[in-house]
């Protein structure tokens, strides 16, 4: 038995005058890189969008560290606050503190919405 022999033959098909196969590859390559680069730029902008939040937070934690070094870490170490209680003759949640520094007025605004409604 004789092995079946196949002859392969391939010739580049003549593509119209507009775009040869090689030209198409070039054009495709250029467009892909254009899309990739602009996609990267947009992603970069989107990612940087929030960086200012982190930077401002870091500014506050830097301030915190500065004050911790001065032995001002927790609010109970603030001498001015203690002076307020002393001068006003009160303490945290004392009578005067309740009157000036606390509120009992949170309003049920959903209720207000309903009061505003009418049947007409």
């Amino acid at each position: 038995m004789e092995a079946k022999k196949e002859n392969y033959f391939y010739a580049e098909k003549p593509v119209g005058q507009l775009l040869s196969r090689r030209d198409f590859l070039k054009a495709a390559g250029v467009s892909v890189s254009a899309i990739a680069i602009s996609g990267y730029v947009v992603t970069d902008i989107v990612q940087k969008r929030k960086s200012y939040i982190a930077l401002r937070q870091q500014g506050l934690y830097k301030d915190d560290k500065r004050l911790q070094k001065a032995n001002l870490t927790g609010s109970h170490q603030n001498a001015s606050c203690l002076k307020v209680y002393q001068d006003m003759g009160t303490k945290p949640m004392g009578e005067v503190a309740e009157q000036l520094l606390h509120t009992k007025t949170y309003v049920d605004r959903s209720n207000l919405l309903m009061q505003g409604a009418h049947h007409g």
Partner: protein, 450 residues
């Protein structure tokens, strides 16, 4: 790269405080409404803002000019700082404050919030996070203000709110009873923070069932107002409280609303009760005007002041003393961390070995949970685990936290809520970043850039 864009403003009109009716929709008489407005001529209907609104208050679909429902709006300004086209405008008190500064009889006080000291530099070419403390005080002084740092009042808030939280723990966790705990019997855990005015209005409007859980301690600014007109007037400045004009300088637009809440005239009530002012004095608010960080920068510009060129030195004054706990209020998780530092000290009798509770920090996670073991001095070192949660941005997370508490109301002792993702540093009154918030800006062709 590091530019900020200009935000259009408008002065309050007569209608801004409402008519004579006791209530109008969700607003009471005298409360400011319409603080944030979408300019119908400039809105292109891109629909970016709706995703940032915590209460779904913005009406309109893609391609249609949007509008804000006054009744649903909590005035947080997140839509404004995130609008890619600068079409959203803010009510501003710049002209009113400028007039007061020109009045020789008025004792005008600047009351700057923590987050303003890390953002105002951006309005003068600095970078986000540039720390301006003494330079800011000096700038205010040059502009004709006296200084009273909100951070000082924030320490006061922690002492009040921390005491309140400890009482709640004693009553609800340790089962103690007593006369001094009667008050908290009606305020069960979980304890919610009250510093964020947008969150408070959100809860009042959409989750009234949470009202008894919200701390009765006022926000730092609203503690500063009455303290300025009572304590500082008498013991520090030695001034007639009626001449004191309190201007809070905030990263926030919801604070404009908060200052107009009718019950926030407690200095007036106190002074009248104690015969320190004549009985026929007309009522005045604790905070007379609110400026955003952008507004304060505008005042500096009008007066030809650049805070960045001023000396960074100053003697420490009583009115500007504050701790690290106070300054971190401006970052998400900060109120929690500050409260824990003091609550831990009071409950355990010792300072936290490491005061940096980094677990609750950050800006990318929606809800952060942590458990802090606290040994109790009164119970010979018995340890309780304080379970806390930080809600970082209201727009997606309020529903989730309510859902979790519906499932198990005991899963947290303390919940901090910040309307704006990242906390006040990202507030609606902060400088608007072209590279940050208004992020389409660099993609626009030059002639279209505002």
């Amino acid at each position: 790269m590091s530019e900020v864009s200009k935000v259009r403003t408008f002065p309050p009109s007569k209608e801004s405080w409402g008519g004579d009716a006791a209530f109008d929709g969700t607003h009471r008489k005298g409360e400011l409404r319409g603080i944030i407005k979408i300019n119908q001529d400039n809105c292109v209907g891109c629909d970016t803002c709706t995703a940032f609104c915590p209460t779904e208050a913005i009406k309109g679909t893609l391609g249609v000019a949007h509008a804000i429902s006054t009744n649903q709006c909590v005035a947080c300004g997140q839509c404004l700082v995130n609008c890619p086209f600068g079409a959203i405008e803010q009510m501003s008190f710049v002209d009113i404050v400028m007039e007061k500064l020109a009045d020789p009889k008025a004792f005008v006080v600047a009351h700057p919030s923590p987050a303003v000291r890390v953002s105002i530099a951006e309005e003068f070419g600095g970078k986000p996070g540039d720390l301006t403390v003494n330079r800011l005080y000096n700038a205010f002084e040059k502009a004709g203000f006296h200084n009273y740092d909100v951070n000082f009042a924030a320490d006061q808030t922690i002492l009040e709110e921390g005491t309140e939280f400890i009482k709640k723990v004693r009553y609800w966790v340790l089962g103690e009873r007593g006369e001094d705990l009667e008050h908290v019997a009606h305020h069960p855990l979980p304890h919610f923070t009250s510093c964020c005015p947008a969150w408070v209005k959100n809860a009042e409007t959409f989750h009234p069932e949470l009202i008894p859980h919200i701390s009765g301690a006022k926000s730092p600014i609203q503690m500063g107002g009455p303290l300025a007109k009572t304590w500082a007037a008498e013991f520090v400045w030695k001034k007639d409280p009626r001449d004191i004009y309190m201007v809070s300088v905030t990263p926030c637009t919801a604070k404009i609303f908060e200052a107009s809440r009718p019950e926030f005239n407690s200095a007036y009530e106190y002074l009248k009760e104690n015969n320190k002012i004549p009985q026929d004095t007309p009522s005045f608010q604790d905070i007379d005007a609110v400026l955003t960080a952008r507004d304060a920068a505008e005042i500096f510009r009008r007066k030809g002041i650049n805070p960045l060129t001023l000396p960074d030195e100053r003697e420490m004054e009583t009115m500007n003393v504050y701790t690290g706990a106070a300054t971190i209020f401006g970052a998400s998780g900060g109120v929690m961390e500050a409260a824990l530092r003091t609550a831990y000290f009071i409950l355990s009798g010792t300072e936290l070995s490491n005061p940096d509770i980094t677990l609750v920090r950050g800006y990318e996670q929606d809800i952060v949970e942590a458990t802090i073991p606290v040994p109790l001095k009164a119970l010979n070192g018995k340890v309780i685990n304080v379970k806390v949660a930080v809600v970082n941005g209201a727009s997606r997370n309020i529903k989730e936290i309510v859902k979790r508490l519906t499932d198990d109301k005991n899963q947290y002792h303390f919940v901090e809520v910040m309307n704006c993702p990242g906390g006040c540093v990202n507030g609606g009154g902060q400088p608007v970043r072209t590279m940050g918030t208004s992020w389409l800006h660099p993609l626009l062709p030059l002639p279209l850039r505002a």
